[in-house]
Amino acid sequence: MSLFNIFNIAGSAMTAQAQRLNVVASNLANADSATGADGKPYRAKQVVFSTTPMGADGQGGAGVKVAAVVEDTAPMKLVYDPKHPMANAQGYVAMPNVNPVDEMVNMISASRSYQNNVDVMNTSKTLLLKTLTIGQ
C-alpha cells in the first residue's frame, strides 16, 4: 500500500541525511588532524546520494541511499610551522583540506532535509490513522 511505503521512502532519506551529518561531524572534528592512521593528514569526506526504487512494484516511489563516501581531492592546506614534528624540509605542515564554512552549510542543509522527512512521516501517519476511521 502506497502510504505504508512512504515510511520506507522518508526513512531511507532520514538514514542518508543522518549519514551526511555523521560525515560533517567527522570532518569538523578532524579539521586540525595533521596525521591519521595512515600517517597522512585527514582528507575531508563527502557522501554521494543516489536514488533507489522503492515502489511496491518498482514503480512510483523512490528512496535515497548513500552510494559512496568519497574523499575530497582538494589540495591540503599548507601552514608554515617549522617547529611542528610533521613539517617538511621547507617548514610547511600539510593540514586537512576541511573547509569549515562548507561543513557548516552542509550541516544546516542535512538537518533541514531531515526535519522535512520527519514531517512527511508524521503526515503519512496521520493519514493512515484517518483511513482506519472509515466506516466508524
Binding site: 502510504l3 546520494f49 514503480q59 522527512n117 512527511v120
Partner: protein, 133 residues
Amino acid sequence: MSSRIDDALRFNQTALTLRAARQELIASNIANADTPNYKARDIDFASALQGALAGSSPRMAMAATADSHLNGGGQGVLGAPVMYRAAVQPSADGNTVDMDVERAQFADNALRYEASVKFISEDIKQVLTALQG
C-alpha cells in the same frame, strides 16, 4: 460482480487510491531533494482519475509475443503516466526538486486525501441509514 453499494463507493475509493499514490510520489520528491540528477515527478490527478474510472489506460499496450518481452508500459500509477515537473529553478547538480512546491503539494494532497476519507465515511453512513431506516 458489482453491486449498487460498490458503484456508490467506487468514485471515492478510486480517488483515495490515487491520492495515496500521489502522496508517495511527492514523498519521493521530498526524500530526494539532495540527490544529484533526480527529477521531480508527479501525476496529473484529474486525467488520472478520469482514466482510472473509465478503466482505460491512456497508453497503448505493446504487443508481447514472447515471455521475455517487457510490457513497455514504462512508469505509471494505476494506468496514469508519471510525468516530470517543469523546473522553476533547476540547480547545477541536475536536481529539479523545488521544496516550496513539493511541500505545498504534499499538504494539499494530504488535505484532499482526508476529504476523500470523510466522503467515503459519509457514503457508508448513507447506506447504513438506508438499511436501518
